[in-house]
Amino acid sequence: MVCQHCGENPATFHLTKLEDSELISQDFCEQCATALGHTNEVALPSMLANVVAQAAEGKQHAGLSCPHCGLSFEEFRRKGRFGCPMDYEVFAEPIDAMLRNMHDNRTRHRGRQPRGRIDERSAVSERLLHLRRELREAVDSEQYEEAARIRDEIRNIEQRGVDFGDTLELLEGLGDV
């Protein structure tokens, strides 16, 4: 996190204020915080600031839910488990403070990258997640012909693999999703 005043130095000074019943978080570096006169105010330590920000964000995003697996943000907050890989993108904004808390203020992966190009894969995985959800609904409502059709489509996509041409084609097919 960089200082929101100078936009250069790392923010080490976190300020959380209550204004018109809205929680406002501000992050400054040491110099800017001093220059702006904030150091005289009572500052919350970074971790506590994150907890407060987390609570505020949770409230703000309570209505959000994942179009891929159906998990609502509310349910995620209760159980602490995601429903599908896409949730990380869908809930990227509200989980930011939580990830910072868990991972020592870090939010971006720096470790090993898995085999294959991830960007090309995401459209396919998104489509597969959708089809699997439709399949589940078709089976639940005893629409077995529809279920068989979806099963075939899943098989087709998986067999065609994840080469770039297929991804483009699939992206076109995603218009109605």
């Binding site: 995601f82 971006r108 992966h109």
Partner: protein, 349 residues
Amino acid sequence: MDLRDLDRRGGEWLRGQGPRSEIVISSRVRLARNLDGFPFLSRATDDQKGEIVERVRAPLEGLDLRSKPHYVDVDSADEMLNGFLVERHLISRELQHGRGPRGVAFGSDEVVSVMVNEEDHIRIQAIRSSLCLEDTYRVALAVDQALEQSLDFAASQRYGYLTACPTNVGTGLRASVMLHLPAMVRMKQIEKLFNAARRTGLTVRGFYGEGTMASGDLYQISNQVTLGVTEEEILATLERILPKILDYERRCREELVSDRRLLRLEDGCHRALATLRAARILSTEEAMQSLSMVRLGIVTGLLAGVSLERVNELFVLSQPAHVQKIHGQIIDPPERDALRAEFVRENLA
């Protein structure tokens, strides 16, 4: 599948040999992975869980684990076998008590085990004797890479490997060591360990992981952060902090063998060994406490004639499901305590 030959001996990680084995029982690395294009398990139907097992099983059985991998269908296995696998650290309690299609593959030496449909679709574990985190990581990584040949794992550029719980996202790597800290416990210094760990971003757990008691003075210490750090950095953090903890335990041991305390320690160690060699009724907890004292006696040179490996093994072989597995049936606790006493006596004769 025949697991009978596992009854009476422990996995390779209980060998009690290697760097710092006087304190470090084992090093363990776990990698969390999920199949791309499938929901995570909390949103997966039993059909989907079955499909995941079906997909993963062939690659698992094709792994080269220095033996042909065993595969146990945990869903259909009986309570005793699952308890036995938990006690051997081959599966977690979460997998044991889960529902729907799930299982585990492991090699005969029990260095590698891969759980299917635990909290994540795939949990790769490598566990080895003594302090050797890098070697252990390399073993887990080799399994990961072998599986990646035929399976696509859920991942993103920004978050790395995507996991059901955000505490594992990124590397999906949890590295830990199992430490025997009897001197810190006896010197009432263990609270310091918890405080130090908290400050340095490490987690302390008991012998059987999350939420378990530190039976037998055994503690697991692991990394907390998995995102925004490289695998090497995670291992390096542990390796930087561990020597300090090991040194502290060593100093506590030195204090226990100092002139004014030696007799008391000697008495405690000999009594513990005598209990294990003579008792007719032995609860799990008494066995664990006595084994811990005997282990302390061996590494401080006060007790001879018992190997570290034997004691390490008995920590696991004295557990309830093991006692029952050896006798091939469910046994009530009172009778179990008598059979445990008999088994331990035979092993330390």
